[in-house]
Symmetry: C2
Subunit: 274 residues, 2 copies
DNA sequence: CAAATAGTGTCTCTAAGACAATATCAC
DNA sequence: GTGATATTGTCTTAGAGACACTATTTG
């Protein structure tokens, strides 16, 4: 009779064929645009971080940052590491978006991807903005349903670059929506559908007030928090109602945001659990 | 300059070390127990399907059905295939529970697991009950919080077998709760925490009336549907309120369930999307 | 004071919970 | 009729949305 020790000694994991495993990370942020006249509050824009591929396959296409899982790390650690290596941005909270494992999704071979969404605060971006080595670019993101039931994903970087992808909803079981790519546009691999799913996850998370705090610094005004939710979900909310709903999730500080040409706003922070 | 074709020809995926990839599936069902006196409605019990391991590692421990991803299939196809091979049960709707990738989670080596939950209807179980080849056993499942903030997972098969695992909540971001194992009991690998997470997913899904229909046949009584939700979430609901809430999700048939010693119940079916 | 945003009070409407009442069958 | 469940009606309460009003700052 073989003992467990003997079994493990004789067991050779290399006997079986294995896929390569990667992570792809959809990093979102909100840009506070200070344009317009005089004393107006800034406009907000939801943005996503992409990388221009320098080599094959999908040379010169745009892709989500990510890379191969290395021995000794978890998938989540891999996601954080690859994100930092490729963009200089250190993601905080990861949100699982799904596993992409169609056998032909990568021309290099059998490569499956674990997709994550994460949120980067305005602060963190400023901290890494000076890093020239990074080839990462933030794109304005819009994702809208068309008349015929399809979806259009549009990614824009100023006036220069516009990427348009066409998708279709395949399935929406258990609150998670999956998409099918009709036209990937300039996006590499199946990243168009990963981005669409990630945005769907982000939206349902923002709806439950889950992810919205991560876009802002430690202390924030309630108006800024409201604009985060409005921007992500593409809706508008009446201030009185928003304040009532978040009141249980935030606590006052004794600081104010002054010098804006109008009544100063009290700064709040997120209430610690219970 | 290298062309894409050349690049792919020279690219050798075997140059990099890769993990083995598996799926583990937590299959849930609800047993309608017809005990008690005379004309009472049956009691319900939530059950989960486990397999007794015949070989190392974790010989004689209980584990979730699952197995290695094979070339040419998706993770979801793998989950369905392994489930069928090992238990004779054909799962319908898969729900992603998370990726388990701690480097030391499997003594055989670098093996990461994609965990799924699925729902098996009473009907489907009856269809496979005669299959003796299967070593799969359905366990009653209970998962409760203790005074000190920990959790106890108890799995019971009649009077014979009782498995008890102790867990702790680690994190609960974005509606997905992760656990840490304090004592795995007789469960193999890290399956105690996979089961705990799967049950959490199932509960939050049942709360939104997502998974509850999958436990029942095509047509069902509203009381049966209500008991499904009550059993999964471990709560009790007033019939009038439950009926009001599901009314938009079901449609009447012209059939009745008779012969139960009391007023016959109308049979309903799930309303097709919109 | 004017422009702009911050913050509050409150009315209405809808959905959820509680509870009571009525309906229908097998025996 | 009795025991059991099926099904409906409605009172109360909590929360969401709408809207109007007050407060405070800079120029």
């Amino acid at each position: 009779m073989e003992s467990e020790k003997e079994f493990l000694k004789n067991y050779n994991i290399k006997d079986y064929e294995r896929p390569s495993v990667t992570t792809d990370v959809a990093a979102f942020t909100i840009e506070f645009r200070n344009e317009q006249s005089y004393r107006r509050n800034p406009e907000n824009a939801l943005k996503i971080l992409l990388i221009k591929r320098k080599g094959y396959p999908f040379k010169d296409h745009w892709a989500l940052p990510g890379g191969f899982l290395q021995k000794g790390e978890t998938i989540e650690q891999c996601a954080v590491r690859e994100m930092f290596e490729e963009t200089g941005v250190q993601p905080a909270s990861l949100m699982s978006v799904g596993v992409y494992s169609e056998p032909d999704r990568d021309p290099r071979g059998w490569i499956i991807s674990n997709a994550y969404a994460c949120v980067i605060s305005d602060e963190d971006i400023r901290a890494t903005a000076g890093d020239d080595a990074s080839q990462a670019v933030w794109f304005d993101i819009s994702f809208e349903q068309t008349q015929n039931g399809g979806y259009v994903l549009t990614l824009k970087n100023g006036e220069d670059i516009t990427i348009t992808s066409l998708l279709e909803e395949v399935d929406s079981r258990f609150g998670k929506t999956t998409f099918q790519i009709k036209d990937p546009g300039e996006l590499a691999f199946d990243h168009a559908k990963i981005i669409a799913s990630a945005l769907t996850c982000l939206r349902s998370s923002a709806e439950k007030f889950e992810a919205i705090f991560d876009f802002l610094p430690e202390t924030f005004t309630l108006t800024a928090l409201q604009k985060v939710q409005e921007t992500i979900m593409n809706i508008s909310i009446l201030p009185a109602n928003f304040r009532r709903k978040v009141s249980s999730m935030v606590e006052e500080t004794d600081q104010y945001l002054t010098g804006a040409g109008h009544r100063p706003a009290k700064l709040f922070k997120r209430k610690s659990n219970r």
